[in-house]
């Protein structure tokens, strides 16, 4: 594994987006993973539609029957992959633009830009996550976002952060090895995370979270997606 890695430098990550006052982070995490997988497969970065997922995806988790994708009321990235496999694919942002509100489903199969063929969940060991990130592209992840409301910058490495209550979907785009930790007087490795709260939040829309401790549950809900040419 390289010491540090960043899919942004390779052109696999679209601009930071803004979900607005809508609990659609799961949709942004999903599109980010598909955008990255499609970039690796085709060499082209497409900006994909979250609104299609918000409007049209009602897929439910197989074991947690109440965990169904429900627009601005929340969802799961793995449910969204299942929906996209069944629906036939996802449209581009321009074809199905984001409104930040749940509306009538306007999906048109003839406008599909990327098809999803499969997906996997990644083991919780963080070196495995790094290996899959390097080999498969940006990964959809869930985390406990309790420290993100007040986050401005730097490597977040809270002394206590609940690992079990995952409430926010984001995109893992890379990692670094040398984020300085005042508390530990040494450089600490970190994850680079793309958020969907606009560029004015965090480090131009990104969050750095320390790596190697399962911090805030970052290692517990990680998935990669596979695409096929439409």
């Amino acid at each position: 594994l390289p010491e540090s890695f960043d899919w942004r430098e390779k052109g696999a990550v679209s601009d930071v987006k803004m979900q607005g006052t809508c609990g659609s982070c799961w949709a942004f995490s999903t599109t980010g993973a598909i955008e990255g997988a499609n970039f690796i497969a085709t060499g082209k970065l497409l900006n994909l539609s979250e609104q299609q997922l918000v409007d049209c995806d009602h897929a439910c988790d197989a074991t947690e029957k109440k965990a169904c994708d429900d627009g601005c009321s929340g969802g799961l990235m793995t449910n969204a992959y299942k929906y996209l496999i069944e629906a036939g694919g996802i449209e581009e942002e321009d074809a199905y633009p984001y409104t930040g509100k749940r509306g009538e489903c306007k999906f048109k199969s003839e406008k599909v830009a990327v098809k999803v063929s499969n997906f996997i969940t990644i083991p919780i060991e963080e070196n495995q996550i790094a290996a899959y990130l390097v080999n498969h592209g940006p990964l959809a992840v869930g985390l406990n976002a309790v420290f993100m409301q007040t986050y401005i910058g730097g490597v977040s490495c809270p002394l206590i952060c609940g690992k079990k209550w995952i409430n926010h979907g984001v995109l893992l785009v890379g990692y670094g090895s040398r984020g300085y930790s005042i508390l530990r007087f040494k450089n600490k490795p970190y994850w680079i995370i793309k958020n969907s709260w606009g560029k004015r939040w965090g480090e131009k829309g990104y969050y750095r979270l320390c790596r190697g401790h399962g911090m805030c549950g970052i290692n517990t809900m990680v998935s990669a997606v596979m695409t096929k040419a439409s």
């Binding site: 074991t63 601005c72 996997i120 969940t121 409430n167 979907g169 809900m221």
Partner: protein, 112 residues
């Protein structure tokens, strides 16, 4: 015998945060993020939440010294409002992959 009259309503003209450093920061926040509150009562309500969030940011800073915590665009939202408006992963702990039926990826060689 002198009766004591207890105040049971909010006195909006003499809110305890008015004129404080917290209100000055709140006004800077309003300008920076283009916030607009339709009524005086809403302004005072958001000021109260903002002041609590200043304390919360200080707590986060103490708990998370390697990052910088402070005023963000979400500083006028209570934690409950923030979670309701901006977070949307369902299932919490139950959604962990080990409890799902999805295919878990094979382990890769990462020893070196």
């Amino acid at each position: 015998e002198q009766e004591v009259i207890l105040q049971v309503t909010g006195n909006h003209h003499h809110h305890h945060l008015l004129g404080t450093a917290a209100e000055h920061q709140f006004n800077s926040f309003i300008q920076e993020y283009g916030k607009d509150y339709p009524t005086r009562a809403e302004y005072l309500h958001r000021l109260g939440i903002f002041a609590k969030n200043l304390l919360r940011a200080a707590e986060h800073q103490a708990m998370d010294p390697t990052a910088v915590h402070g005023v963000t665009q979400f500083s006028d939202l209570s934690q409950e409002e923030f979670e309701g408006m901006y977070m949307g992963v369902k299932g919490g702990a139950a959604a962990a992959p080990s409890e799902n039926e999805e295919v878990v990826a094979a382990e890769m060689e990462v020893g070196d």
